[in-house]
């Protein structure tokens, strides 16, 4: 890689050990992907829940945090992805004081590095959206795909160590979606039916993700009949990234891609119709099954989604054998508290958690401790992930999720 004078100084340790380690890691990754040089980033976002960190990651963060302040502070605004637990509700979810202690260690270390504890996977709905052309280092696949596709920013999936490295150096290797060449469409899909709710937008993302099956594919989706809205494309993108590891899509006219980028995909389009979406949902169907838990998360809920949950629960009572978890960002939770939405949701017996996203929250341990097996959600991303955690997940609309939570079984 071609290095500037400042980058060579970082690599030589002239700017401290944290930045030396960071840029050495970035050069290893950049060389693997044939990056020619570095590109400055405007924001970083770190996934660092303690389930993923483990003791190794925690010790790594604490080691960096012990460096002198001038050497350890991040160089660009840096945010965090959801944490492993919400200290206000963790006992109700069967999480343990040992988990809470690990979270406290991670939080202390990240704060010492100058990281803003935003604890959210919807920064574009809650903190600050990047502009078209912004180069970013984001550590959540849902944020990356939304920022790349809808906002026109440029970034790769940056795992925790790499996002932190970018925060410490203020740059990232220029490869993948930082390059014009990687923004060109590679596969074309044509919608024959419009998804009717967020679960169906997730199902559509899952279908296209499975058809792509690679980070390096860029689907072009045609046939949009109406502007879907931010929450719909949030679920679509999160599922596309989850099922396909895809980081960029073009969906004219609501995405930021250029006409040339969209036209680059082969003309022959794969059709996706009502039957495909219904079949996707049917994979997870379990009508009549006794229900253990309903989760609204992955991605965290926007304020509008929270309002829909509150509206749907007014005057109802959740079945005593069902747990309902609503996960959102701390900023949305504050707003929901202020607007009375949290009170309405919790009056029905649900838990509103701030700063977590369920699957990053020791989901397997919670399942074992609480006896949770049958899980219902409107998040296609969540059903995809939790199959490996021992759950039997089902996917349905928000309204059916709520009706099932009240009935105690899937309706």
């Amino acid at each position: 890689m071609r290095l500037s004078d400042e980058e060579r100084a970082m690599l030589a340790g002239a700017m401290g050990e944290p930045r030396r380690r960071a840029i050495a890691h970035q050069i290893a990754v950049g060389a693997f992907f044939d990056a020619a040089d570095f590109v400055p980033v405007s924001q970083a976002h770190i996934m660092a829940d303690t389930e993923s960190l483990g003791e190794n990651g925690l010790s790594f963060l604490e080691d960096l945090a012990a460096a002198p302040a001038a050497e350890r502070r991040v160089r660009v605004p840096t945010m965090t992805d959801p944490r492993g637990l919400d200290f206000a509700v963790y006992r109700r979810l069967g999480q343990t004081p040992a988990m809470a202690a690990r979270e406290a260690r991670a939080i202390a270390a990240l704060k010492a590095l100058g990281v803003l504890m935003t604890d959210t996977c919807i920064t574009y709905q809650t903190v600050m959206a990047p502009l078209s052309g912004d180069h970013v280092a984001y550590g959540d696949t849902g944020i990356v795909i939304y920022a790349n596709s809808i906002l026109g920013a440029r970034g790769n999936f940056e795992g925790g160590p790499s996002a932190l490295a970018a925060a410490l150096t203020g740059r990232t290797p220029r490869y993948g979606h930082h390059l014009d060449a990687q923004r060109r469409g590679t596969k074309r899909f044509r919608l024959g039916a419009a998804p009717r709710d967020l679960a169906e937008w997730g199902a559509l993302g899952g279908l296209i993700g499975e058809a792509c099956g690679s980070y390096w594919e860029v689907p072009v989706v045609e046939g949009l009949s109406a502007v879907p809205g931010s929450d719909a494309l949030k679920h679509f993108g999160a599922a596309l990234a989850s099922f396909g590891s895809v980081a960029l899509f073009h969906m004219p006219p609501v995405t930021a891609g250029t006409a040339d980028e969209t036209a680059a995909a082969p003309a022959a389009a794969a059709a996706i119709g009502r039957g495909d979406i219904d079949a996707f949902l049917a994979r997870y169907a379990a009508p009549g099954d006794k229900l253990d838990i309903v989760v609204f998360a992955a991605p965290q809920l926007s304020l509008f989604e929270i309002e829909r949950v509150a509206d749907g629960l007014d005057g109802r009572r959740i079945h005593p054998e069902v747990t309902v978890v609503v996960a959102t960002s701390p900023e949305v939770k504050h707003a929901a508290d202020r607007l009375g939405l949290t009170r309405r949701i919790e009056a029905a017996g649900a838990i509103v958690a701030a700063g977590i996203c369920f699957y990053q929250s020791y989901a397997r341990e919670m399942a074992e401790r609480n006896g949770w097996v049958r899980l219902l959600t409107n998040s296609a991303k969540l059903v995809n992930i939790l199959g490996g955690y021992g759950y039997r997940p089902s996917l349905s609309s928000l309204e059916r999720c709520l009706a099932s939570a009240v009935a105690g079984r899937i309706v």
Binding site: H25, A28, V29, A31, F32, F33, M47, A48, E51, S52, L53, G54, E55, N56, G57, F60, G139, D140, T141, N156, F157, E158, G159, G160, P161, S162, Y175, G176, G213, S214, Y215, W216, A241, S242, F243, G244, S245, A247, Y359, Q360, N384, I385, G387, G388, Y389, G390
Partner: protein, 138 residues
């Protein structure tokens, strides 16, 4: 003379070990029981099998960013694969391998999930972008 596969230069140290192969994709979070060291996801082609100390040979990386932290933690606890060989990885597995000091190669000449068989003895040199299948002759 062993069969030699040429790949893109990779990450991590040269290693030797036994292959565990499937024409399937991979995420440490989605697919593994990281306490027992087995594939847990019921629909994965390696479901129920131990990956510990094996050279995992798979198609693509999938899903999210967690593997970037998890590979290093798995290595610390002695429940990591010995190396990763993929047809093509996403940035997360490359970042995770670099952070963990785990051997990784991809972009080889041909489909590694077909060219390499479970049980093959492999020698991988990431710096040279080279895999030798020691138990079969070219």
């Amino acid at each position: 003379m062993p069969i030699r596969l040429l790949c893109h230069p990779g990450i991590g140290p040269a290693v030797r070990g036994t292959a565990l192969v499937a024409a399937d994709n991979f995420s440490a979070r989605y697919d593994l029981d990281r306490d027992r060291g087995i594939f847990r996801r019921p629909t994965h082609k390696l479901a129920g099998q131990s990956y510990v100390g094996r050279i995992l040979v798979l198609n693509e990386a999938k899903g999210g960013v967690a593997s970037a932290w998890m590979l290093a933690e798995m290595k610390r606890r002695g429940i990591a694969p010995k190396a990763l060989v993929f047809n093509r990885v996403n940035p997360i597995l490359a970042q995770g391998a670099a952070f963990a000091g785990l051997a990784l190669v991809d972009r080889c000449a041909g489909d590694v999930t077909q060219l390499i068989h479970t049980g093959d003895e492999l020698e991988i040199d990431p710096a040279q972008g080279r895999i030798d299948i020691l138990n079969r002759d070219a």
